[in-house]
Symmetry: C2
Subunit: 222 residues, 2 copies
Amino acid sequence: MERLEKYYNQIKNSPVFYGMNDEELKGLLECFNARVRKYEKEEMIIRQGDMISNIYLILDGAVNIEKDSYWGRRIIISRLGKNDNLALSFVGSKDIESSVDAITVEDTLVLILGYEKCTSMCQNACSRHKVLINNLFQILSKENIELIQKIENVSQKTIRDKLMTYLSNEAQKNHSNKFSISFNRQDLADYLNVDRSAMSFELSKLQKEGLIAYNKNQFQLL
Amino acid sequence: MERLEKYYNQIKNSPVFYGMNDEELKGLLECFNARVRKYEKEEMIIRQGDMISNIYLILDGAVNIEKDSYWGRRIIISRLGKNDNLALSFVGSKDIESSVDAITVEDTLVLILGYEKCTSMCQNACSRHKVLINNLFQILSKENIELIQKIENVSQKTIRDKLMTYLSNEAQKNHSNKFSISFNRQDLADYLNVDRSAMSFELSKLQKEGLIAYNKNQFQLL
DNA sequence: ACATTTCCGTTGTTTTTACAACGAAGAGAA
DNA sequence: TTCTCTTCGTTGTAAAAACAACGGAAATGT
C-alpha cells in the first residue's frame, strides 16, 4: 500500500476515477484490492487466451497491444502509454478470453484493480461503483473511436497513403504539424502492416518530394 | 407510440434493456422520448461530422458503417443488423463528432432514444439508468472486440489470408463450417480493403484447391 | 416476355509491395 | 577506445495486387 500512496495523485487524476472525492477513491481502491506492479521491458502483462478480471491502468511506461497471426507475423494493434487502460473490453465482456497480447515496450508500472471481486460484492450498493462504470463507459468509447481511426490508417491502399493518413492523424492529436512518434520503424511498420524497408523507402521519398520532414522520430508535415 | 408498441417485445429482449422489468422499460422509453423511424434503402442515418446524442437500435434491416477516404475510396468498417447499436461510442464520448457514416443497405427500422435528454434530467436519480449504463458498457465491450477482430482480418498480408481469416471467423461465429454471409462481393471487398475482381479470382482459386466451397453467399470451409 | 441493370467471374497489363541482402550510423558495453 | 548489437536507409528482384475491360448470369422493372 505504501508504493500505491506514491502514485495517489496520478491515480486520482486518471480518467478512471474522474469525479470522485478522496473518500470515494480510497474506498474504491480498497474494495478493488488495488495494487501496483512493475513489469520489466518486454514482459507480457496479458496473454492471448487469458481470462481478464482486472482493470489495468498504466501509471508509467509503454505497452503494445499485439496479436500474432498464425504464421509468425506480428500485428501491433495499438501502443498505450501513461494513463491508458489495458484490455478494458475483455473485462466488460463476461466469459470472453483475451484475443490479444499486452507486452511492455519498456519498464512499466501498472495499477491493478480486481474488478470481479468488487462488483460481486457491492453489486447495486455502492455509489462509487456507479461513477466508475460511467467513467469506464466513456473510456471505452474513446478506445473504440481510436480503433476506428486505426482501421482508417491501415485501410489505405498504398504505403504512402497509410503513412500520410497516420501522420496526419498524429499531427491532429498533437495539435501541431511538428510532433514525435513513439514507434520505432519496425513497430510502425507492424502497426501499419507493411514491410519495414519498403516503408523506409517511401518515407525518404516523401521527404525528397517535400511533403514531410523527419529526423529519427521527429516528424513535420509541410 | 402505437408503432413502438408493435416492437415492444423485441425491444424488451434487446441487450440494451437486458435485466429490466416492464415498468422500468416503459419508464425509460418515455424518459428517453423513444421513437421508431423507418429509413429507405441507402439512406444515411448518420453522417461524418454529426454530433450524436441519440442511441440507435436497429429493429430490422441492415446498416453499413462506412468511411470515405479522401479519394473516393469507400471503407466498410462494419455491417450491422437486427439488435445492433449504431455509433454508441460517439454517444459516450462527449463533444466528439462522428468520424463515420451509417448507411442503410436495405429498408431499415430503427429505435431512437434521446440519450442526452434523459441523462441530464435523471442524472443520479433513476435506477433504470444504472442498469442501462451497465448494459451499454457491455455492448460497447463487444463492439470493441469485434473491431479488434476486424483489424485482424484486414491486417493479413495477402488477399488469400484475409479471406481465410474472415471466413474462419465467420464460421466460428456461426458455430458451423457452413454459413452465409451478408456481404455481396463488392461490399466484402470494401470490408477487406481489396480489389473486387482480384478477390473474386482468389475465391475461385480457393475453391479449385478444395479449401472452401461456395455458391453465391453460401460458404463452406473444407 | 423483353429490356435494362446489377452482380460476378475471368484475363492481361501495370503498379506496388514484400523479401532478402547489405552498409552506414548510433547506442551501449567491455 | 574498440567491439558488438541494434536501427535505419537503400537497392534489386520476385511476388502480389490494383486496374481496366469484357462477357455471362441473375435480378429487376416494364
